[in-house]
């Protein structure tokens, strides 16, 4: 049957998922529990057509994108003028600003002193970047309760 694309819960990171299990009684506060804030709900509009990619260089620094930035991109969206798109060009996956001028297509990196590149070879557009998430710590550490 149809399978939903979802992110699984990690019990190692949420050891107190069901605190009532210890006592056998369900807490009356349970009635008031709401869904936890989820960054995914905010970032992903259409999970079926959303994919992720990671920047492996600082090429797009002018756009505020550094190495390690996570891109959220949607393959169902049409690339429009000035959109940030994920594409395959000259044998490589790239993220570029997409400019359409008349019949010509240009790819830019956002740098002021750099002219956007005219597309002369076959270009494969995979999707449009909807969000990018930039790391501000180089080694993210996460505390996991020892068991």
């Amino acid at each position: 049957m149809l399978k939903q694309v979802h992110t699984p819960k990690d019990p190692a990171l949420e050891p107190l998922l069901h605190p009532e299990q210890a006592s056998g009684f369900v807490s009356p506060a349970e009635d008031y529990l709401e869904g936890r804030l989820s960054i995914l709900e905010r970032l992903v509009k259409d999970p079926v057509n959303t994919y992720y990619a990671e920047a492996d260089s600082d090429e797009l620094s002018a756009l505020g994108i550094c190495k390690g930035t996570l891109f959220v991109y949607d393959t169902s969206m049409k690339a429009t003028h000035n959109a940030l798109v994920v594409l395959w060009y000259q044998g490589e996956w790239k993220v570029r600003q997409y400019h359409v001028l008349g019949k010509h297509v240009y790819l830019g990196t956002g740098k002021e002193n750099e002219e956007p590149e005219l597309v002369s070879e076959e270009l494969l557009i995979r999707g449009v970047v909807t969000w990018s998430c930039r790391p501000h710590q180089h080694k993210p550490k996460c505390y996991v309760r020892p068991r």
């Binding site: 149809l2 399978k3 939903q4 694309v5 079926v48 393959t75 169902s76 494969l124």
Partner: protein, 346 residues
């Protein structure tokens, strides 16, 4: 009306999705533990690589033609499949996911079907990057046939609506490619000089029922454009659950067989619990490599009735190991163990 949407060379297309440089190269995906070719790109098919051919038989061809070889990555294929099916489900409320790469859709009240098929196809291709073919016809059997024809057409779609369109589609369609005609029926019909779908349809219903049983009669009516096979939107309860995998190498050691059996049986028990069923019968089979004709072949099989219906790992493993011990003979080189649970009850 029914549509059948089928992904072209699905596993190969999934591998190409993130490696577009392979779009022009022949690509082959191998089965578990790199046994046989199970998905081939059109370029690989053109080189004469047949479905299911063992890898060692094509090694020379692979080196000569610079063929890209992949081990199967079912996690990736299942994810891409779910994305395709969910995109299709947005087109129609009636969906039957028929296999990992095929899906029937029920279509009602659509006036311009060729246009619809084109939109459906281009949406799926754009959103998932996987090329698909779309066949549309008044019955599921004809939709399946239309899909075969769509694969050959450059547009990737084929709509069969009117009497004349059905007649011309059937006229040269080989009987063996029809949905539900397997190798045995194919032979049986060839002896009666029935080679095309049109020839089968020209017979009387009684003759068809006599030759191909009631299933064949349904097929016959479907060929006449009368729907007999409904969409199956709810899954049947599983009849049996099986785990079998070949080892990386041949072995005749009992410990190694027991180790593999334990691993497969634990996986089987997990599957049983996920399905919320218990098994009453456990089957174990040891297999030697059938492609190594130079070695003696031995494929013993045992069915073990279980005292109680169970789905817990320790008891199933214990039973399976008992089976392996009963079957084991050190004189053979084994390549595979199969463990299967049947007689499932909720």
């Amino acid at each position: 009306m029914f549509a059948l949407v089928d992904a072209n060379n699905f596993y190969v297309s999934c591998e190409r999705l993130f490696r577009p440089e392979l779009n022009t190269r022949p690509v082959v995906v191998l089965s578990n533990n790199d046994g046989c070719a199970i998905s081939r790109s059109n370029e690989a098919k053109a080189l004469g690589i047949k479905m299911g051919v063992p890898y060692f038989q094509i090694k020379a061809l692979v080196a000569q033609h610079h063929i890209a070889i992949f081990s199967s990555n079912y996690t990736l294929y299942a994810d891409i499949s779910a994305r395709i099916m969910n995109n299709l489900a947005r087109f129609s409320p009636e969906v039957e996911v028929y296999s990992i790469d095929e899906c029937f859709l029920g279509l009602t009240g659509i006036s311009n079907l060729p246009n619809y098929a084109q939109t459906l196809r281009s949406t799926v291709v754009r959103n998932t990057g996987i090329p698909v073919s779309v066949g549309i016809a008044p019955t599921k059997t004809l939709a399946k046939l239309a899909n075969k024809l769509a694969k050959k057409s450059p547009s990737g779609i084929c709509v069969i609506q009117s009497e004349e369109e059905i007649t011309s589609a059937l006229s040269n369609f080989p009987i063996g490619d029809l949905w539900g005609i397997g190798r045995a029926y194919h032979k049986k019909l060839a002896l009666e000089n029935v080679f095309t779908a049109a020839q089968l349809r020209a017979q009387s219903p009684a003759w068809v029922k006599h030759m191909l049983t009631i299933q064949g009669l349904r097929l016959y009516h479907e060929l006449w454009g009368r729907p007999c096979i409904p969409l199956k939107e709810v899954l049947d309860r599983k009849q049996g659950i099986c785990t079998s995998r070949s080892f990386g190498k041949l072995t005749n050691k009992l410990e190694e067989l027991i180790e593999a059996t334990t691993a497969y049986t634990s996986r089987l028990a997990e599957k049983l619990r996920a399905d919320k069923s218990c098994a009453t019968l456990l089957h174990v089979q040891l297999l030697t490599n059938r492609f190594r004709t130079d070695l003696p072949q031995y494929n013993p099989y045992i069915s073990l009735p279980l005292a109680h219906p169970i789905s817990n790992t320790p008891d199933l493993v214990k039973a399976a190991i008992g089976g392996v011990k009963a079957l084991y003979s050190p004189r053979y080189q084994y390549s595979k163990v199969m463990v299967m649970a049947t007689g499932l009850i909720p």
